[in-house]
């Protein structure tokens, strides 16, 4: 019996890559919590975390330790299995999306083959991301229902309807992008944005599809359940929303998965619209340094763009007040979806009349 013909070194490469990516996402998410509090503090003229370590840099560790040490309470009348399943799904779905993101240019090996900095280059990468995002809402819904609490249930319903409404606009805005690039593979989309300027125009998709980017980023806020769309955990109406009944590390999982999601969606935004690991003058740099350095610089550029997006997410959270529920639905169904449809039609028309080679 012959098993799958995959070399051991490839499996080893992928395992190391997955471990590094997961470790890096967890680390960046951890320090996002610190950065969020610092950004909030600066915007409100406070000082933020100061006590634990220099500039409060050990604060995330202290927070994690605190969450681990807290007593775990499971409501007596809820379904215990589903109660634990909720935060687990939230965490799992947050970590899964990173599999199809190309983190950097290939690293050439001595024998001519390459090490790919992407876990899986599947030909439906964009749809894979979309699928995982659409499953992410189950974590909130199952946890909210299993809490056996009216406020949690309300929050679960809000989260579900919000996720479904905004997924539509997100999908349609991505269709316009995919029509332009002609591929659903993340690697292909990023490679098409090589450099910064080619054939008399910018190569980055942001400059070709600004409207799609606008719709996508608004929907990303909504899918992340982040302010100004955080109606699911609206504390002035619903106490804590879906995590009202949660304590200890299960609460930590919910809160933490939001930060992982924020990091991953920042990476997706920079890959789809801002060139991923491409940067102006990359060919000049590539001619002067070793291939390994080229890959490392690419990864750093991608992470730099992602961090800019994370800070942007934070600025928005501390600037714009929360939407009312009807405003949220109106924005989703009556503004974003028609806009996305218009964008799709316009893109189709432009491709048909100006870029039709046949």
């Amino acid at each position: 019996m012959i098993l799958l013909a995959i070399s051991l070194s490839l499996i080893l490469e992928k395992v190391i890559l997955i471990a590094v990516i997961l470790g890096a996402s967890l680390g960046i998410a951890m320090y996002s919590t610190w950065a969020e509090r610092k950004v909030a503090a600066i915007m409100q003229d406070r000082r933020g975390p100061m006590r634990a370590g220099p500039f409060g840099l050990f604060q995330p560790l202290a927070d994690g330790l605190k969450l681990f040490m807290k007593e775990e309470i499971i409501p007596a009348v809820s379904s215990k299995f589903l109660f634990v399943l909720g935060p687990s799904i939230a965490m799992l779905m947050a970590c899964m999306t990173s599999a199809v993101i190309p983190w950097g240019p290939d690293i050439p090996k001595a024998d001519g083959s390459v090490i790919s900095l992407q876990v899986a280059d599947i030909n439906i990468g964009v749809l894979f991301i979309f699928g995982v995002v659409s499953l992410g809402v189950y974590g909130v819904m199952i946890g909210a229902w299993a809490s056996n609490n009216k406020f949690s249930l309300m929050s679960g319903l809000r989260a579900a309807s919000q996720a479904i409404s905004y997924e539509l606009a997100m999908g349609i805005s991505l269709i316009a992008l995919v029509m332009m690039t002609g591929s659903l593979s993340m690697r292909e989309i990023v490679d098409q944005q090589h450099g910064f300027w080619a054939n008399g125009y910018f190569t980055w998709n942001f400059f070709k599809q600004p409207l799609a980017f606008l719709i996508f980023i608004v929907c990303a806020f909504a899918e992340l359940n982040r302010a100004p769309f955080d109606l699911a955990e609206c504390e002035s109406e619903l106490i804590g929303g879906y995590h009202t009944e949660y304590s200890s590390m299960k609460l930590g999982f919910y809160l933490f998965s939001e930060y992982i999601n924020m990091f991953i969606s920042s990476v997706i935004l920079s890959s789809l619209f801002f060139g991923g690991y491409n940067y102006p003058g990359m060919d000049i740099v590539a001619a002067h340094v070793s291939p390994l350095m080229v890959s490392l610089i690419g990864v750093m550029v991608l992470l730099g763009k992602a961090i800019c997006f994370i800070i942007f997410f934070m600025f928005i959270r501390w600037t714009i007040p929360r939407f009312r529920y009807d405003q949220l639905m109106n924005l989703g169904w009556k503004s974003l979806i028609p806009l996305a449809l218009f964008n799709m039609l316009a893109t189709g028309g432009v491709i048909l009349y100006f870029f039709n080679d046949k």
Binding site: M1, I2, L3, L4, S79, L82, I122, N123, I124, L127, F128, F130, G131, S134, L135, V137, Y138, M141, I142, A144, W145, L153, G156, L157, A160, S161, A163, I164, E167, L184
Partner: protein, 176 residues
């Protein structure tokens, strides 16, 4: 046995046991969760047949959207066991008869789809690129464009119907 046959049998076993779980579990929430797992294992079957696009669309549409709505409705229901309607014997009998008839039709359809294929060696692994999105799109927009458009008109009418149903309340309340 080849490796893909081993995977096929494991997947089939999983699919069937999840499907049985849907109808056996007492709580509707558990039923819905089992149904989601069933969709996942069906998607895995699609991946085995190299139809990645179908697999992911199955997950996005069914597991990601339709089942969320199912869960949404079930969460709003009062799930106490004393409010559960007791079905009488006649209804149960009729349900068994109609369910059995449906099963008979499925089995017959499955059996007739194999006629003419006896003795032929069907190897799905070698013969398929059709499930990839490029080939699927070309087939859909050339050979099957008419049924495809008809289906889209059907969806549009369903959407308009839903909007009309949703608006009905407002119109009735307006003259007050």
């Amino acid at each position: 046995m080849e490796i893909h046959q081993v995977i096929f049998w494991i997947l089939s076993l999983l699919t069937l046991s999840f499907a049985v779980g849907v109808i056996m579990s007492r709580s509707p929430i558990n039923s819905v969760l089992f149904l989601i797992l069933t969709f996942f294992s069906i998607s895995a079957h699609y991946v085995m047949m190299n139809a990645q696009f179908l697999a992911i669309v199955n997950i996005i549409v069914y597991a990601g959207a339709i089942m969320v709505l199912f869960l949404f409705v079930i969460m709003l229901m009062n799930l106490n066991s004393d409010t559960e309607p007791q079905k009488n014997f006649l209804v149960q009998f009729a349900a068994v008869i109609s369910g059995g008839a449906l099963l008979l039709i499925f089995v017959a359809a499955l059996k007739s789809s194999f006629t003419g294929l006896e003795g032929k060696d069907i190897n799905l692994i070698e013969s398929t690129d059709i499930g990839l999105i490029k080939n699927l799109g070309q087939k859909l927009f050339t050979d099957y464009v008419f049924p495809f458009e008809i289906a889209s008109v059907l969806f549009l009418s369903a959407m308009i119907g839903a909007v009309v149903l949703g608006k009905k309340d407002k119109v009735l309340q307006a003259p007050k």
